[in-house]
């Protein structure tokens, strides 16, 4: 790490930033064009794989319904995600700070993680009904584990010297947490949040698949039952857009709060 790499960053940043978006977009466009060509040429039945243009047309036509159902699903995974955050981070802190809690609960939490949540989703429905609550809890049960694990790892990764330093300043355990451990853990916590964000979406859909009367997962099942493949794809497209928006929201939040971290330093090895 030398002061020389600061000067170099400015020149490297601009083209590499454009490329970050340019290359994947071009790849995607290319693949979609092939898809369109193959389906239009009649090689594949539209029942199996509708053309992208058809999916887009259906999406536009059914936009109000898709938005309405998307809103239902979004509420489910957002609440599930926020619950994961609200439980995962404090629980991670408890595990790091309390040896008894670590001994008593951590192995059980790890064991719970190996449980396939999709398999127990029906039980959640039985317990909590077919409404919002069961979906939120299924999303939570899948999404909270990476947040917990990454919080524990992040909080433990503080340098012992830094903690000694705080104590020599007369720092209290809370100050050590607030000034050192928590900010130091943020990059790891955000890594967990990103994984959790996609898992929460999966959880909400699984919940809707098992039992519901609204949401994009429900719409997929209905459309699939009617052999309306373009509508299934339109739902998937909507879900993908919701997932991407959600993911990027977290990424923006990350960029704002951990600008100092290696992964966020512009231009340093970023090309």
């Amino acid at each position: 790490m030398s002061s020389a790499d600061t000067a170099a960053t400015a020149e490297v940043t601009e083209p590499s930033r454009v490329n970050t978006y340019l290359y994947p977009t071009m790849t995607a466009l290319f693949l979609i064009l092939i898809w369109e060509g193959v389906t239009r040429a009649g090689y594949v039945s539209p029942l199996i794989l509708p053309a992208p243009s058809v999916i887009l047309a259906v999406s536009m036509q059914k936009l109000p319904l898709l938005l309405q159902m998307g809103g239902v699903t979004a509420l489910e995974f957002l609440l599930g995600f926020l619950l994961s955050l609200a439980v995962g981070v404090p629980l991670g802190a408890l595990v790091v700070y309390s040896r008894p809690i670590e001994l008593a609960f951590y192995p059980l939490l790890v064991a719970f993680q190996t449980l396939p949540k999709a398999a127990i989703a029906p039980i959640f429905i039985v317990w909590l009904g077919t409404g919002l609550t069961s979906k939120v809890l299924i999303a939570f049960s899948i999404a909270f584990f990476p947040i917990l694990i990454d919080t524990v790892v992040g909080l433990r990764s503080a340098q012992p010297e830094t903690i000694h330093l705080l104590r020599s300043m007369g720092g209290t355990p809370f100050q050590v947490f607030w000034y050192v451990r928590l900010p130091n853990a943020l990059p790891a916590i955000f890594a967990g949040l990103k994984v959790a964000s996609t898992l929460a979406v999966v959880g909400a859909i699984v919940g809707e698949f098992v039992s519901s009367d609204r949401g994009l997962g429900y719409l997929v099942l209905v459309a699939n039952g009617e052999l309306d493949t373009p509508m299934v794809f339109a739902c998937v497209l909507m879900l993908t857009i919701l997932g991407i928006v959600f993911y990027f929201l977290i990424e923006i939040l990350e960029k704002l709060s951990v600008r100092w971290h290696v992964s966020a330093r512009q231009g340093v090895g970023g090309h």
Binding site: T6, E161, H164, S168, M169, Q175, Y179, W260
Partner: protein, 275 residues
């Protein structure tokens, strides 16, 4: 305590000398590793006078860092006791600036805010110290770097920031644990000169841990030589060289004699073998 009787017996002597600021009395440190007791520090007694610069030199793993941690109150002693400014150390001693080999800068704080961490944690008013932080930065050649982040600085610059952080609250004592160990030779020499200048300007009690014989002599009023584990004090050498010392002092006969004396100690421990 036996200390009391001693001072009664020799009251004139203690009054004439500079006040003893740190008293390390028969200190042991035993760790348990893999079920065995491992003695890291063995019966160390040492006094630091107020305003004195003492270097501790010894091989890796001789317990010199542990000794410093015990003086800071960050690691408890297994036996004996340490008294600083008349108070027995049982918890972290806070009228101190500590500088480690790893600079321990917080990556998410700017240079200025890293220095002011010392002020924040102590719940002092930032506005009373901001000007001083800038002044300290200027004194170590980092004026204008206030808003940089640690990752934009070189290793030497980072350690200078750590030095400023250790001084901003005007502590009675500064503890330095191999602060320049990770720096290149040239930067290290500059840091030695800077530290000497800071010490001459502030005359704080400084305890400096190093494994460089040269560095130990160059900076210190007294060099304490420690043996390999379990760490004992092998000898204490008064360094009678005029200050401010220049780098060329290394080439003087007197400096060479001190270095030879310490080197011979190391050879006697079997640490150096010239074949």
């Amino acid at each position: 305590m036996s200390l009391a009787t001693k001072s009664v017996l020799a009251p004139v002597e203690t009054a004439a000398e500079a006040k003893t600021f740190v008293r390390i009395q028969s200190v042991d440190k035993t760790y348990s590793a893999r079920g065995r007791a491992l003695k890291a520090v063995d019966n160390v007694s040492l006094d630091l006078r107020e305003g004195e610069f003492v270097s501790i030199v010894g091989p890796s793993g001789c317990g010199k860092s542990t000794l410093m941690m015990m003086v800071a109150g960050l690691v408890p002693v297994s036996a004996g006791h340490i008294v600083i400014d008349g108070k027995r150390i049982t918890k972290p001693y806070s009228d101190v600036g500590v500088i480690f080999q790893r600079d321990a800068l917080l990556e998410w704080r700017s240079v200025l805010n890293n220095i002011l961490l010392q002020i924040d944690v102590r719940r002092l008013a930032r506005r009373d110290y901001e000007a001083k932080a800038r002044e300290l930065l200027g004194r170590v050649g980092l004026a204008g770097f206030e808003n940089y982040h640690p990752w934009e600085l070189s290793g030497g610059m980072r350690q200078r920031v750590a030095l400023c952080r250790g001084l901003i609250h005007d502590p009675a004592m500064v503890l330095l644990d191999e602060p320049f160990g990770a720096l290149d030779a040239l930067t290290r020499e500059q840091m030695n000169l800077d530290l000497q200048r800071i010490w001459l300007e502030t005359r704080k009690t400084m305890l400096f841990i190093t494994h460089s014989i040269w560095e130990a002599i160059f900076l210190a009023d007294r060099v304490v030589v420690m043996s390999p584990r379990p760490g004992r004090i092998a000898s204490v050498i008064d360094i009678d060289l005029p200050r401010p010392r220049r780098l060329a002092i290394r080439e003087t006969k007197q400096f060479g004699a001190y270095a030879a004396q310490i080197r011979e100690q190391f050879q006697a421990f079997g640490l150096l073998n010239e074949g």
